[in-house]
């Protein structure tokens, strides 16, 4: 019911001030898109909003909610509207022909036995009975599917495991964990999201772990904020790898080799605006000797999203957002753009692989954990 959604997300309090539209990264390039108008449409015309294709273009980056003087939870509003729209047979345009959506849906099958541990090299240590679990998520799939972009997403997994080993943790890595379901949740497919969540929770329980370490901000926000809301019981301690590293850095226990580079940092929406972690990544970057850090013009709470979310509705506006953001990164004088989310990395690499992308505008894009692992040697 749209009336319920409006009430629940406080959309009734909308003052029509348009602050949301003025900060929305999509609206900056697509004059047809406006969060304010979508809310107004839902309040005045009720059901019509479900047919509006624009509800699928929202990046759910939370910039609008951050600015709203009436605290209208626009992204939650969009999420629930999408659930309703999906029930009425509507859907967003799946990028990559829907291959990634198919992967997620295939993973809901209970009898699947995945072969997903091939990336663990012999120098990395895991154990069968640790209370820690490293949740790898979709990285093996991204690494393969985006091999033409040379995203090498599994480098993030290997680096995380390496860092964990150095911190004295040999975690369990499960052969049959599934996708966390983040993208299904945000594209309104609650049914399949719940299936994935239930599978994962059962796998965690079976393995006897107490603490779950993640390297992916989307999985992190999903486990921290969404699993407890959608499952009867999810009482695991969810930890981000940056928390563990930052804790160790405070006690000065890590020996880091110098890296001579100028870098800048892209805040991931899920880590920043969703979970309020702006300091840890910066603390890690500044701990690497000789690494020069330059902040982008719009950073922290004002950081712009990487242009696409949930593998959905990637269009010319997404590309414009990415180009704009890369330009901003380049303007800092940095040679390297550090990302914290594997998807930010993939999206920026994709934008740079465009045929007419100017060669002198290219920056190296490296994940923070990968960078730290190389500073730790290797």
């Amino acid at each position: 019911m749209i009336k319920e959604i409006i009430k629940h997300t406080k959309a009734y309090y909308c003052l029509d001030c348009g602050k949301c539209t003025s900060v929305c990264p999509v609206a900056a390039f697509n004059s047809n898109f406006s969060p304010r108008k979508i809310v107004a449409q839902a309040i005045t015309w009720d059901g019509k909003v479900l047919d509006d294709g624009r509800i699928w273009s929202c990046l759910t980056c939370k910039m609008c909610h951050e600015r709203c003087p009436s605290d209208v939870n626009f992204i939650e509003f969009i999420r629930q509207i999408r659930v309703d729209a999906r029930e009425n047979g509507k859907e967003g345009i799946c990028t990559h022909g829907g291959a990634l959506q198919s992967l997620m849906k295939i993973m809901t099958a209970p009898q699947l036995n995945q072969n997903r541990l091939g990336w663990i090299t012999p120098d990395l240590k895991t154990s069968q009975d640790s209370e820690y679990l490293y949740f790898v998520g979709c990285l093996p799939y991204f690494d393969l599917y985006f091999s033409d972009l040379k995203a090498n997403s599994l480098d993030i997994a290997r680096s995380t495991l390496k860092v964990l080993n150095i911190l004295g943790i040999n975690p369990q890595v499960l052969p049959n964990e599934r996708c966390c379901g983040h993208d299904l949740l945000w594209s309104g497919d609650i049914k399949n999201f719940k299936k994935l969540a239930a599978h994962n929770a059962a796998e965690f329980k079976k393995s006897g772990v107490k603490k779950i370490v993640l390297s992916c901000p989307e999985g992190l926000s999903c486990f921290k904020q969404d699993y407890p809301n959608h499952l009867d019981k999810f009482d695991f301690e969810v930890i981000h790898i940056y928390d563990l590293i930052a804790e160790k850095l405070s006690s000065n226990n890590l020996k880091l080799k110098p890296i001579k580079e100028t870098v800048t940092y892209q805040d991931a929406c899920r880590l920043g605006r969703f979970l309020n972690d702006y300091d840890n990544p910066r603390k890690i970057i500044s701990s690497i000797p000789e690494l020069k850090f330059q902040e982008m013009k719009r950073s922290g709470k004002n950081a712009v999203c990487c242009g696409t979310s949930s593998w959905m509705n990637c269009d010319q506006y997404s590309k414009k957002i990415q180009m704009d953001r890369l330009k901003e990164a380049k303007a800092t004088g940095a040679e390297v753009l550090i990302t914290s989310c594997p998807k930010c990395q993939i999206h920026f690499l994709c934008a740079q692989s465009e045929e007419n992308y100017p060669e002198d505008m290219k920056v190296k894009i490296i994940d923070l954990t990968t960078m730290l692992a190389s500073a730790l040697g290797g």
Binding site: C94, G97, S102, I106, Q114, N115
Partner: protein, 144 residues
Amino acid sequence: MTQAKKDFKPKVIAFACHWCGVGKNEINAVEDFPNFKLIKLMCSGRINTALILKAFEKGADGVIAFGCPEGKCHYNFGSSNAAREYKIARSLIDLLGIEPERLRLELDFFSENGKLDKVVNEFVQVIKRVGPSPLRTSKEKEKK
């Protein structure tokens, strides 16, 4: 062999390129296969990872694709596209735990009399040996 395995009629999806000579006669010959669906495309270059994964997601036990040999594609590069996508799709289903034998690409395929029939029959036998797709068994269990 158990009774269930004997009764198993594999669901097979075939994608066939228009130019590699899959004509009406051949289609008629394979239409008798139970649970077999042939989808004609203008070129094997249309086949992508997403289409293949979708077929498995919807419960196919096997997917087979036919195209012209590389270098002899009507549109020059369609077959090479198909070969590239096939490689990615095969690695992806292997990661997912779906047996790679369930996916096959026939690019040296120029339909001669009865050849489609033979290839499909052979493929169906392979799928029969591998058994029902793990996705299909999960779905059927859910229904029960």
